[in-house]
Structures are given as structure tokens and as C-alpha cells.
Symmetry: C2
Subunit: 320 residues, 2 copies
């Protein structure tokens, strides 16, 4: 018997199936199923971020299970919420599916999405389901600042300590492994399939007085360059201080690559990049990796060990 | 000289171009350009809705200008906000574009989107830009209840007056015209390309004591059926009372169609469907078109002139 597809079941039945899986949502004034949801925001402000993931571009069904893709779609948006110094609270998801998509894929996707949302403390509050030729996932995620000021990427000041929280290069290593047709080291492949952002680290950074904070999604160098430009400063990274995951180092070496290629250029781990006032006691999970300097003329905004880098690598859509 | 494309310019330059067009946003704590936006919600609640539009499915570039598509993407989401009895305030947009998309198309899309958002009183507060094979637009829109209770589709009560605000069938007529290779009547084609929801009608319905309210996006019969099911009632529509746009009537007749096919079955006009307590003075723009009845067993939830209709027509994704 052929597996049941989205086209077999139809939009209305699938939406009912999803609503059943989501269940009632305590604390959400109006959940999924009406024209719109109504979210509580006792703080008087709501953090909002949106990202789109396209099959073949941001994920491949032969490399990632449905649940992995659901995890990743939730994680990359919820990480952006944390990167404002906020606590994730909810997300809404718009999904374009080819009619031949199996219902089992939709179930798996939803399970992964709900699991990662739950890990972040967020609920699925609404969505949309349409037909498309490629699976396309639009996630909008929300967060609560709890009375704190949002921590922007533009707040870095000369003299600040630059710090990161989380692994760097693991997801890029996993992508390289999969691109070569391998499935191990498992730690790297898993890092690509299911990034596991440390969501509470955003609030910890805020509480520790971070001047600037952002999600590293396109590679440390590219994102540090964005932070430096937004703040009108320069950033010097000390390569010795960067966290070096053992699997990243050994796998890169096996491929005759400098591990820094992945550590400095690889995105998708969703580490946090922060700057703290000099002398700060860094919050749990953060390690100092550099220093904020005054910008000098039109020179490079980001340096590694005091040297200009040939190019700011990292992921840019349309160009990569 | 070939027109400049998205692939020529690259993500970062396009995002900067968009940020320039949007400009500063008074009243928005954090606008576009950081990991996330921060929206004000003085009410302590925020209305949230999301929709995805896929090229070839929800719009065609040979039938609609870029600005029309921007208008429509904004309108269909902002209409859902109004349909909760809320005032639209903001939206965020995720956009997947093929690299060969002309920059002029992006500019036109953005101009149309900003114009329609402005008509609703909403600002563009953030977004995402990625590469895809088909233009895909994910919009999430926000609204302010201003202390009012949200008006749900589940609130209809037996005895209520059923009312609609806005035209019915014009967008379906426009689609039929375009499908036959014509470009007129212009009023219908324009209605398909640029639905013009009466956004303040949502708040007017709320202030007039509406029991139930929803956006008619998939056809009056299908959406009335959804309202009836959500409310546990039946709805009887009086066909004589339905607003009949002259272009809808004459064009349907020219195509040997009963105009009710479009009026009852056509979506995308984004009229509002509401129920009010019996004896209510209907707010401006609303006309009475039927009555809410007790549900009887498992019979039809929606009737026209007291008769069960053969099928609840309307747009269902994957099936249409």
C-alpha cells in the first residue's frame, strides 16, 4: 500500500491533524485555528524574527530526517530570539508542501519542531499550509524580554571583551562530511542536522551586562564583521582562544583543511557572539575570544591575531 | 545592458537597499537589521497571523505586476489581523527569490507591500531574504486589540444576524477573466491583483458587539461552514441579500455562469464575515445576508435560502 500523501489527505484534514498534535496552549490567549493567534506580551514589547528555509538550499531530505528539519527550522529562529537577550515564547510556521509529500514526513517535521520549541520553552501558536513545488518553511519566532533592554549588535564598544558561547565549525564540518557522501563523524553530522543553541545564554549575557549580542549563523568572521560595522568598531579575534571541537579539528585535518576554515567561516551552529565591558565576569558558557578596538579609517573591521584576513568568508545567500 | 538581478547584487546589498527604503520606524523599539525586531504591544497581547504565497500558485508574474504582488501579500495577512477585531500594526516578510529575479521586481514588490501596509497603518519591521527556485513570500502580520476582546470565528450564536463587509466574487471574476486570456473588465482584474480590505471594519465590528468575525479568503460558503462548525451552529444565507457587484454579474453572465458561483465560492476578496446579536445596528459597511440557526444533527452547516447546497465550494489547497 502506497504511503498516504499530503495530496491524499488535503489541507483541512492536515490542519486538523496538526491542531490535534499541538493541543491546547495554556497561557496563549488565542492559539491556532482562527484567522490569527493572540499572544500574551506582559512586557509590553515582543521580540519577533522570521526566517525561511527552502528544500535543496537549507536542507536536503536525503541528508536530514523530517524531524531534524523541524528541529532546525525552530532552532535557527529561536536562536535569533535568544540573541536579543530574550526568552523564546512562541512561533508560527508557514509550510509549502508538494502534494506528493508523505503525511509521515509532515508528522516527523512537526514532532521535531515541537520538540525543539519545547526545549526553548516556546509553543507553536499558529501557521499556514499551502501547496508548492519545493518544501518551503517560513518560521516566525517570538520572545519575551522580561523587562530587560534588547541587546543589539550595534552596542560593541572599544575595549570590550569579545566572547562566544557554543561550538563553532561543527555544523560546517557536518555539511562537508555529508557533501563527501559520508555519515560520520556522527557528532559533526548531528551538529549540521540538529543545531542545539543554548537559548538561556541570551538572557545570561543580558544579565551579565553584555554590550552587544548576536547569533552566529553565517560564520564567525562574517557575523563579527556585521557586529563591528553596526557598532562602528573593529574586532580582533585571537585564534588560539577559539573553542576547538575535537571532531572539527580531526576531521578538517583528515580533509587537509585548516580547522579554522570551519571555525571562522562556518555558520549554522548558532553560537552566540557577545561583547562585555572590560573586566566583566563572563556568564556561564561564554569564553573570551578577542577584543573590540577602535575602527581605523576604512581598514578591515575584523582581524584575526591582529592581521587583516584575505576575505570575510561566511554564508551569503545568492553568492555561496 | 541586461537588467540587474538579485544574483548580481547579492543578499547583503539587497538587504541594505530594503532597509534604506523602509527607513526609521518611530514607535518600533527595534526595527529591521538586527537578529530580531522588537515590537511594542502596550495592550499586553499581540495579534499574530502568517501566510505563505508561492509563485504559480498564489500569483503569476505575467498576470500581476511586482507591486500588485506586494500589495496582495500584505493585504491577505493584514485582513486576517482585522478579522480578529484588531488594528494592524506591523508585518515581517521572508522572501525566497531565484537569483535571476530582477532588482526592479524586488523594488516594485517592496513598494506595493509598503503602500498596502501603510494603508492599513502597519510598518515593515523585519524580514529574511534567501534563494529559492520559485518566488515564495512568507508574511507574518501583527495587530493591536486596544483593550478589546478578540472576536473569534467560534462565537456565532443561534439567532444572530449574519453580515458581510466588502465585495464578494470580484477577485474570482478577475481570476476567471485572466485565465481566459483577457485583461478586462478592469474592475475584476484589479480586484484579483489588488484586494483592498476595509481594515478598520474589524474594529468597527468589534465595537458594534460582533459575536463572531472572520476573513472570507476561501469563499463565503467554505468560510461560513468553518464559522458554523467552530461555533456549533448552522448558517443560512439569503442569496437575494448578497452584495452583487455589477461587473461580477455581467461578466459571469457573459461566461454563462451563475454569478453566485463567484459570489458564494470565490475567495481572495478578503471581505469580512460577521455575526451580530439579533436587532443589532450593523456598523458601517456591513450588510445583513443571513441568519444563524441551531445546528441540526449531522446535517449541512451552511444553507442557501434554506436549502442544503450540493457542496461547499471554495478554495482548498492541494485539492483545487
Amino acid at each position: 500500500m502506497a504511503a498516504q500523501t499530503v495530496g491524499d489527505l488535503g489541507e483541512i484534514a492536515i490542519v486538523e491533524r496538526i491542531l490535534g498534535a499541538v493541543g491546547p496552549l495554556p497561557g496563549v490567549p488565542v492559539g491556532p485555528g482562527d484567522d490569527a493567534a493572540v499572544l500574551a506580551c506582559a512586557d509590553g514589547r515582543l521580540v519577533v524574527t522570521t526566517d525561511m528555509l527552502v528544500e535543496g538550499r537549507h536542507f536536503r531530505r536525503d541528508w536530514s530526517e523530517a524531524a531534524d528539519i523541524g528541529h532546525k527550522a525552530a532552532a535557527e529562529n529561536l536562536a535569533d530570539v535568544a540573541a536579543m537577550g530574550a526568552k523564546p515564547t512562541a512561533l508560527v510556521v508557514a509550510l509549502a508542501l508538494p502534494p506528493e509529500t508523505e503525511i509521515a514526513w509532515v508528522d516527523g517535521f512537526l514532532a521535531g519542531l515541537l520538540e525543539e520549541a519545547g526545549r526553548a520553552g516556546a509553543v507553536l501558536a499558529g501557521g499556514d499550509l499551502v501547496r508548492g513545488d519545493a518544501i518551503t518553511i517560513g518560521v516566525t519566532a517570538f520572545g519575551d524580554l522580561g523587562g530587560r533592554a534588547p541587546i543589539l549588535r550595534s552596542g560593541a564598544e572599544a575595549g570590550d571583551v569579545v566572547a562566544v558561547c557554543g561550538t563553532l565549525g561543527s555544523a560546517a564540518g557536518g555539511l562537508a562530511v555529508l557533501s563527501r557522501g559520508f555519515r560520520s563523524p556522527r557528532a559533526l553530522v548531528d551538529a549540521h542536522r540538529r543545531p542545539l543553541p543554548d537559548y538561556p545564554a541570551g538572557v545570561r549575557a543580558s544579565d551579565a551586562g553584555a554590550h552587544a549580542l548576536m547569533d552566529v549563523s553565517d560564520g564567525l568572521l562574517l557575523d563579527a564583521d556585521r557586529m563591528a560595522r553596526a557598532s562602528g568598531v573593529a574586532i580582533d579575534i585571537q585564534s588560539e582562544a577559539l573553542p576547538r571541537d575535537e571532531a572539527v579539528v580531526t576531521t578538517a585535518s583528515a580533509y587537509n583543511l585548516d580547522p579554522l576554515t570551519w571555525i571562522l567561516g562556518g555558520g549554522d551552529d548558532h553560537a552566540l557572539l557577545a561583547t562585555f565591558p572590560p573586566g566583566s565576569r563572563l556568564p556561564e558558557g561564554f569564553v573570551a575570544v578577542g577584543t573590540v578596538l577602535d575602527a581605523v579609517g576604512s581598514g578591515a573591521r575584523v582581524r584575526v591575531d591582529g592581521h587583516e584576513v584575505d576575505q570575510v568568508t561566511g554564508f551569503e545567500h545568492f553568492r555561496a
